[in-house]
Amino acid sequence: MKILVCLSIVPDTTAKISFTDGDTKLNKTGVQFIAGPYDDYALSRAVDLKEQLGGTVTVLNVGDADGEPIIRKALAVGADDAIRVNAEPRDAYFVAEQIAAIAQRESYDLILMGRESIDFNGGQVHGIVGEMLGLPSYSPVMKLEITGHTAQLTREIEGGKELLEAPLPLVLGCQEPIAEWKIPNMRGIMTARTKPLNVVEPTGQDSLTQATRFELPPAKGAVKMIPAAEAETLITLLRTEAKVL
């Protein structure tokens, strides 16, 4: 089993978001970067599958050198090697082109991603990569088992879930509870230092979109507290003041 896991490197879920340079750039001061939480689920499942079935796990990030400590962490958790495409991830189409170019050379059995990045929340890269490679893609996948050359996967749908069976190779967007997040142990951290992290230059240069400016949501007005003894007035206020009922 040859598995590729794609990692986006994004601000931590608790990060306070603000912008600089006339609202054209993310203010990185004090922001901690992590691998996307969904991508972490994908990685954990990949490592479990490798332990179960044998094979290799490669992690891939499109981004600059600042992300390398985070890529090393993925190696510490159990990936065998890593590739960093040395480019700013300009948009989903550009990122997908980089992933597809590498996948075309390496023919992976499984390409696992997160259901969406938590910076641009696109939910796009797996679908675009699937099209570029002529492979099916499914998302969001919350359970994944492999028997022989077939994947059984549970996909979340609105109001429920569906169980699918599909032949490999596949591209999947993952979410919980597909696996438990893994925390690297000391041995993992030591071995990760010597695992290969190959840096390659980008191919193509298509980006079809470009963020030109950022905005923060308008500040929330003060909360109106309703005494518990008069809780019923909430319904009246929602009807007559907020006009939402």
Binding site: A96, N121, Q124, M132, S137, E158, V223
Partner: protein, 321 residues
Amino acid sequence: MSVLIFAELDQGEVKVASLEALYYGANVAQELQTSATALVIGTTSADLASLGQYGVTKVLHVSDEKLNAANALAYASVLAAAVELEQASVIVIAKSSLGDTLAARSAGKLKAGLVSNVTELPDTSNGFRVKHSIYTGKAFAITEMREGRKILTLKKNVVSPELSQATASVESFSPSIPETDFVAKVIQTEKATGEISLSDADIIVSGGRGMKGPEHWKPLEELAEALHAATGCSKPVSDLDWRPHHEHIGQTGLKVSPNVYIACGISGAIQHLAGVNGSKVIVVINKDPEAPFFKAADYGIVGDVFDILPRLTKAAREQLV
């Protein structure tokens, strides 16, 4: 050049979020001085001509039973064929589990720029710029989409449709779909029926760990019923299996933007807020006056959910018909 809008069916009816998408797409068409066409996939007995009320002049209907089960791969092939037929330059899709994958596959197929979670009509005065939600609702980006085809996925509640009297012409459409789109066998589907779906709901009543256990959900469900609301929950609640996973809202769950979000016994962790900060009005009921959720709320009640919820239900039943 035209605007194509995907109108998603759920149990034979066009979803509310898709009706908003139709109205949005028709408005974009007007700005671009072109026409808007709806694409409906699957069999339905709904009156498709009436979608004209939302501003589309034509409905392409692919009435094929094989497509009643939502299959994003096959839908993307259909959509790409419709884009060719209509010479569409802008494609509008309401966000949903199906809509997201459909948009992504179509972007790959058509080499189209794709912007997800759009929150406003585009600015077409100089190029094509759209505002969309990023960092899970913590910010917005204004993104320039380059020349060529463009796909937008829309958040719910971005437009309030004003209906006209118009009717649309309905044409049947049967493009060929590659067999490879059907490689996955659907072994089993579990879907709650009869419930109001979270992504379509105007009102959501949501419960956290403060609800104490799955056996205590009745008061919350009763309020939801009285308000015609959908029910949601926090992550620990679905992790503990108190509620099904598809009700989980937040950073790692569903992102919702209803008119009213009523949070019952949810502390308001930043990862939960990330899923609800698009709501118009947020109501928080929590026994702890220091709960962080109150800072993000429009209305707050400090109290015990098991005292407050039944009283709200009673008031709602009396005041709403």
